[in-house]
Amino acid sequence: MSRNLLPVLTICAGLILLWYGGAIWMNWQVVADTQARAGATPGLMDMVRLTLNHARPLLPAPHQILDELWRSTATLPVTSRRSLVHHAWVTLSAALVGFGMGTAVGVLLAVAVVHIRALERSLMPWIVASQAVPVLALAPIVIVALGAMGLEGLLPKAIIAAYLCFFPIAIGMVKGLRAPDAMARDLMRTWSATPAQMFWKLRLPASLPFLFAGLKVAMAAAVVGAIVAELPAGAQAGLGARLLAGSYFGQTIQIWAALVAAAILSATLVGALGAAERAVARRMGMRA
């Protein structure tokens, strides 16, 4: 990791430089027009300063986004409707509930598929085919249908997140539960292990690395699902609603701040799962 630190930092620094250059270039025209209308002829340095601090830039500079992030998280009370913490929590709760439901469904499906032969042949192709449906496109339908049944708020979003989640978990878990080879299974049989013991002591531990790989993919998918589910309903709160409101009112900095918040949220959740995976592996005596 430390071997990669210097190259990664170099590339990040390069990207930030590019970003500042891009901000100057993309906002130049807007600033030049306003200045010309005001009859001012600013010098080069003034122009650069103005392009990097425009209120509604085409591309906000990184410091403007950080500033907005700080303002909308630290300086506002958490309960405020303009607080990004509030919006992030709305999205996070939907994503986590959906992730929980998706994990439960995915694991149960995988256990069923591994143990019932007919299910594997008939159900498995449909689990795969269910992913051919662009799930996020279903979001408006789910919202409308559940809304007609009187369900609103967190649950419809969680269901969409769960639909996105269950597939990587089910696929990974099936693979994992099948991971013990014939030799290990035969050994269990010579010890006259019951099917339940076979499951709890052999198949389940063997499936954990595959499960975690699926969980990490699913977690990222759950966040995307929760965000996108907020779009069609015209939700009042949540990071997706922030994105949509920002795009309606041309609040570029607000869009970018919501985007960065979503990125931080997603990366933290996936990182936490990675840490859990390492802790579990250590407890089980696996050295990666």
Partner: protein, 305 residues
């Protein structure tokens, strides 16, 4: 025996569908529905347990799907479920037939323009940068962790920004697709180009092969399975990206636009028709890439077996 059972299932569901549409929904009707479902489950069970002989392995999922569709039709019509919750398959099929030109216009806008253009540019750019990164280790070591990080991020969120930059028409959707497909391609291609063994590379060096020859004759063929993995992962991603990007603003046509506006108008049969078009297009796209993979990597163990 299996054929007889299949005939019974088809006949019973056919009769039930007719009865449901005629308005029969008494106790006898529901008992028959349960009986027919049982028959179908038995058939699936039989097909699933049958020894693999090519056809049955396709038979079980097909029967399962068809039975599910028939049950959906019978239940929705029999229980007179409101259209808002779930339209019957027959209603969706009728709508698909009557709204053909509209669906085609949306398909052209979203799939033929935004998805294909974005997919080609995104995959192409990711591939090119991977070629450069393969030659410059410093760049590779810096880019790979970032590429893996991006996989954990909700990239589709850049849609409102792209709409602001590139306007409402398809280029902004293509830009979102580019951003979504770029990193999987980059990460996979870099991994693929490193897949050729040290032994083979030394052999190429002992033949005094130029870097270009090594790339063309050794590294690229070895990287093909990885590249196709990225192409397959990107196919559904591209479709989703284009549809979701349309939620943020689009001209008055396009699949994502149609889905949101018609869902708001509660015209759910049209929404479902659009979803089916998207599902079929997505599957066909994926299938074509998978076919190309089989043709291009016929030598790989995963294809040969």
């Amino acid at each position: 025996m299996t054929a007889l059972l299949a005939l019974a299932v088809i006949a019973s569901f056919g009769a039930l569908t007719v009865a449901a549409h005629a308005g029969a929904a008494g106790a006898l009707f529901w008992t028959s529905v349960i009986a027919a479902t049982g028959l179908a489950a038995w058939l699936v069970q039989r097909l699933g347990d049958a020894p693999e002989r090519g056809l049955p392995s396709l038979g079980a999922p097909l029967v399962f799907g068809a039975a599910l569709l028939a049950l959906w039709e019978v239940l929705v019509v029999g229980l007179s479920v409101p259209m808002v919750l779930l339209p019957a398959p027959s209603a969706i099929a009728l709508r698909m037939a009557s709204a053909g030109p509209l669906l085609w216009q949306d398909f052209t806008q979203t799939f033929l323009k935004a998805v294909l253009a974005g997919y080609a540019i995104g995959c192409g750019a990711g591939f090119m940068l991977a070629l450069v990164a393969d030659r410059v280790p410093f760049l590779r070591r810096g880019l790979l962790p970032l590429g893996h990080l991006v996989a954990a991020l909700p990239v589709v969120g850049i849609a409102p920004i792209m709409v602001m930059w590139f306007g409402f028409d398809w280029p902004s959707k293509a830009a979102v697709v580019v951003a979504m497909t770029f990193f999987p391609m980059l990460v996979n291609t870099v991994a693929g180009l490193a897949a050729a063994g040290a032994l083979e590379r030394d052999l190429m060096r002992s033949y005094a092969a130029s870097p270009g020859q090594t790339l063309w004759l050794l590294k690229l063929p070895a990287a093909l399975p990885f590249i196709f993995t990225a192409l397959k992962v990107n196919a559904p991603l591209a479709l989703i990206g284009a549809i979701v990007a349309e939620f943020f603003g689009s001209p008055t046509y396009g699949m994502g636009f149609r889905i949101t506006t018609e869902a708001a108008k509660l015209a759910l049969d049209l929404v479902w028709a659009e979803i089916i078009v998207a599902a079929v297009a997505g599957s066909a796209f994926y299938g074509l890439v998978a076919l190309a993979e089989r043709a291009a990597t016929f030598w790989h163990p995963s294809v040969r077996s």
